[in-house]
Amino acid sequence: MSGKQFIERLEKRFGDLVARVELEAIDPWIEVEPGGVVELCRYLRDAEDLRFNYCNSICVVDYFEPDAKKAAKTAWSPHLEVVYHLSSIQYKTTLVVKVMLPRWKDGVPGQLPEVPSVSGIWSTADWHEREAYDLSGVWFTGHPNLQRILCPEDWVGYPLRKDYEMPLEYHGIRGR
Amino acid sequence: MTNFPLLLAAEINWHTVFFYLTSFIACGFALAMVVSSNVVRMAFFLVLSLAATSGLIFLTGAHFVGAMQLMIYVGGTVVLLIFGVMLTAQQAFISMKTKAGDWILALIVGGSLLALLTQIAFSVPAWRSSDYQARLQAEVTAAEEEIIAAMAADNRTELTAAEAAKLRPLLAKVKYGQPELTSQVGLGLVGVRVDKPELDSLGYSGYLLPFEIVSVHLLVVLVGAAYLARSKRSAVMQTPEGDAR
């Protein structure tokens, strides 16, 4: 199945949920609306001829330039991308799915952007989503146990955000 | 020498000394056990008390019983106890305080019982001390004199078999206490009474029957304990009517 056919099929089935398709990139990717990610992923996993049953990685890229001067020159507006790398053990194929999110929910700093959790589809997503939440500050709704995983429970902030600042001190340990 | 009472040690009866030593250990730890409220410490004190008791049993000359006490009582029972303690090792159960009323009542009853028993124990004058040494010595002297007289009369230098048989157990008693007790106990358990041969001829089977009963009893107890220790939780399971019958 060529890339085009595959995209057509997805668009036919999910309509507007598939927001954007990029076939020219090094790793071709499709963008999904946040609301449709669970549905799409379940389809990708279960469809007989796709079988993307292996979730390699879930990570978040923060498109943000803290330096105002440089920020003016960037080609993108600030946003978060949740990137799902999938592959199929059976057909040896890979796929990248992206979800674009605002950096803060409703533009209010401190309010985490939300995306539905796919931990019900791939169990491995459980820990990957915890890590994404911990480091990049994305709230995965419907996750069974969304807690920090690498940082301590009481850590403040999301280190992989570009505007993250190391706390001045943590339990008496100097941070900066 | 009389100025230093302790130096009278030359006359000290060492049997007595060791008796007092072990009995103080036994009683002291038994008391500590009652006073202590921590279950594990209680078990610890109990073990020491029991071990000292086995020392007391050794002092009466019953080596086999003493070793048995050490092995079964101290080794077995207390490990079982500690198991129980560990299964329920929670702070709330480790120490449970007793009401003062209980203590007073128990002490009154216990104290009077102790007074009574001690009174009884010391009421028989013959029991207050032991004339074992004197008795044995008299026996030995008598036997020897008799034999010497016989030998002198017959003008011989060797003992007859009957005389040797008479002297041997006496000598064993003098040197070793009751060394033959272990085999006597063993034989008694399988039904042969060496110490009272006349019982055999009367058709008594020694302690064979009790021994067997105890063995079966132990088996039953083991099975029973294993069964009891499994708890039956009555979970109300929905079963079809037909199955219940």
Partner: protein, 111 residues
């Protein structure tokens, strides 16, 4: 130091046995802990045992119990072990059902 030069008699052993016995009884009466009571029972049996062995010893009385005393002591030891096993099992069962080993709370007869 007079008492150290005298040989001990049967009475002394009986007194120790009585002391252990009474301690055991007091222990049984005062402990609220099932295991504590069990230990009291052990102590009582132990005190009785001393009496058996003392009466059996030729060191104290001429007409001693002899073998009978020793064998009885043996039986007591063995049966005490058996008794401990059963009592421990009961205590465990009780703990399983009531989540406590406090005997004062054992006021019902069903398991």
């Amino acid at each position: 130091m007079n008492f150290l030069t005298e040989p001990v008699g049967l009475s002394h052993f009986l007194a120790v046995g009585a002391f252990l016995f009474v301690t055991g009884v007091v222990c049984m009466a005062t402990k609220r802990n099932t295991l504590g009571i069990l230990m009291g029972v052990e102590l009582v049996l132990n005190g009785a045992n001393i009496n058996f062995v003392a009466f059996a010893s030729p060191y104290f009385r001429e007409d001693n119990l002899g073998l009978e005393g020793n064998l009885l002591a043996l039986f007591v030891i063995v049966l005490a072990a058996a008794e401990a096993a059963v009592a421990l099992a009961i205590a465990l069962n009780y703990y399983n059902n009531h989540s406590t080993i406090d005997v004062d709370k054992a006021n019902e007869l069903k398991g």
